[in-house]
């Protein structure tokens, strides 16, 4: 109990200090572009704890989740066979590396022309960016499957779908989850950018709107909301990671202490 409190204190000390410093130092700000934190907080309270949450944060979250989940499913589903079969890997790897090197942002104008301003364009952009780290990490994870465990599966008749479910996917999961973490942050960036290009709602669209109409404290409050948005998702992701990889973390802790 005491340890948990101390840990919480250590984790919160620096953010609180920075916040307080910024609050005091910006209190008498006359700079138009860097207003007082109190003004930003007032807007934050008015906008993001008010109507803008449902109007902008929820649509952003929906787009991100749709794109991100699609990227996870497709990345893992395509990555597994590539990781399992060497000839397939040889044939596909150069192409995959090429596509990965193209920033999906570069395709936004093209996608707008083809798909319009709607959600499908934004979801496509998110998928196109977030899928690569997931896919490539899945390939690496599957490739590294232990050969003794593989022989164990063979001798005990664990094959086909059962082999994927009980052996291949769990053994690659630490690496897959690394890819999913990278994919999530890429997904958030692409969500914002695609909304800045073309959208009627969403966090990115709100921030660019305030910027263009010179409502600077409102814009900063949007940036703050975006920070909290990303932070909350990363906390949720950490929970998921701990749940999914509890065996892996336990095993590594034990190895470290022995």
């Amino acid at each position: 109990m005491f340890n948990a409190l101390r840990k919480l204190f250590v984790e919160l000390a620096l953010p609180a200090l920075l916040f307080a410093l910024l609050y005091i130092m910006s209190a008498n700000s006359t700079n138009f572009y860097f207003p007082a934190l109190s003004a930003v907080l007032k807007q934050f309270n008015l906008l993001w704890l008010g109507p803008r949450f449902a109007a902008d944060v929820i649509p952003s979250l929906e787009r991100l989740m749709a794109g991100y989940l699609l990227a996870c499913i497709a990345g893992i589903a395509i990555g597994i066979p590539i990781g399992l079969y060497k000839p397939l890997r040889r044939a596909l790897e150069p192409v995959l590396e090429f596509f990965r090197a193209i920033p999906p942002v570069a395709m936004i104008p093209l996608l707008i022309v083809n798909m319009g301003f709607g959600n499908s364009m934004k979801i496509t952009v998110i998928v196109a960016g977030a899928i690569w780290p997931i896919l490539l990490n899945t390939v690496e994870g599957v490739k590294a499957a232990d050969h003794v465990l593989n022989e164990t599966c063979q001798t005990y008749g664990i094959r086909g779908f059962a082999r994927l479910r009980h052996f291949i996917v769990p053994s690659a999961s630490p690496q897959i989850i690394v890819g999913m973490r990278l994919g999530l942050s890429i997904g958030i960036v692409l969500m914002v950018i695609s909304e800045m290009f073309a959208a009627l709602d969403g966090l990115g669209s709100a921030i660019i709107y305030f910027q263009r109409s010179y409502e600077i404290p409102q814009m900063w409050s949007g940036v703050m909301m975006l920070g909290l948005f990303g932070f909350s998702l990363s906390v949720l992701f950490r929970w998921f990671e701990r749940w999914a990889l509890h065996w892996y973390d336990g095993m590594r802790d034990l190895e470290r202490h022995s």
Binding site: T152, Y156, G157, I158, H166, P170, M251, L254
Partner: protein
């Protein structure tokens, strides 16, 4: 065809029926672009049902290659392996394998129980029966109290017992073990050896136990096959007529034990010199 040949044929047929594992002129060559390595020269032997056979040989004697051919994990270059009368082309259903690397043959994301249970699930055995089989197998290796733990939370010897429990629960006719106790300490090793003897006498299994330890082979086996260094042949086939039950305290000081041990040791020395 002479009467003698016919008689030989009948004898062969009769012995084949009793042989649980029959290795016939097995040869294995690893070939790559750069080189050609003949791991197994020419091996023929039979293991009868219910026998405890130990296979010893110097390191690099192709023991693991032989085991993989037996288990259907490697295809022989020439010759054949038959298990329970069927030619081995894929891992036979009536065989369970215990690997040397216990730490890498158990699924770290599954608990001890789940590890033992998984092969049974794939056999579509009903849940109630499965649970009983798993409990019995864990009891047989005295690990029924750690069913909910993860393998990596256990000591090396306990992990290898989990692997043995998984093999037992699979209810095989033949159990093949590849240097299973090579990585555990001496005391644990003695306990595990006695566990193998108990399981063998209780379950009526056919056991093939590969080891590089001469004492272990003589202590456990009813028969010890001594392999040459590669390309592998059989140098000696020693029948171990030390009475059962055996015990760590008395068997190892039995004069017969010493005689047999010396014979196997001489075989290994010969093998090392490249005989």
């Amino acid at each position: 065809m002479t009467a003698c040949e016919i008689w030989k044929g009948i004898l062969k047929l009769a012995t084949q029926q009793h042989a649980m594992v029959a290795v016939d002129h097995l040869n294995k060559v690893y070939e790559s672009k750069e080189r050609r390595v003949e791991a197994i020269g020419d091996l023929s032997f039979e293991v009868n049902q219910g026998d405890f056979t130990c296979i010893v040989g110097p390191s690099g004697a192709g023991k693991t290659t032989l085991l993989k051919c037996l288990a259907g994990l490697l295809a022989p270059t020439r010759g054949s392996v038959r298990v329970n009368g069927h030619q081995v082309t894929e891992p036979p259903e009536e065989m369970a394998v215990v690997f040397q690397e216990y730490g890498r043959s158990l699924f770290p994301w599954k608990t001890v129980r789940e590890n033992v249970e998984l092969p049974l699930r794939e056999r579509k055995i009903p849940k109630a029966e499965r649970e009983k089989t798993v409990s019995d197998a864990l009891k047989a290796v005295a690990l029924d109290h750690v069913g909910e733990s993860y393998p990596w939370q256990l000591s090396g010897g306990m992990q290898q017992r989990v692997a043995i429990a998984r093999a037992v629960a699979y209810k095989p006719k033949v159990m093949v073990l590849d240097e299973p106790f090579a990585a555990v300490d001496a005391q644990t090793r003695a306990d595990l050896e006695d566990l193998m003897l108990t399981l063998w006498s209780e379950l009526g299994l056919t056991l093939i136990f590969v080891t590089h330890d001469i004492d272990e082979a003589v202590y456990l086996g009813q028969r010890v096959l001594v392999l040459s260094s590669s390309p592998t042949r059989i140098l000696d086939d020693v029948s171990i007529d030390i009475p059962v039950p055996r015990s760590q305290a008395t068997t190892r000081i039995d004069p017969q034990f010493a005689t047999l041990r010396t014979r196997v040791y001489a075989g290994i020395q010969k093998a090392k010199k490249g005989a």
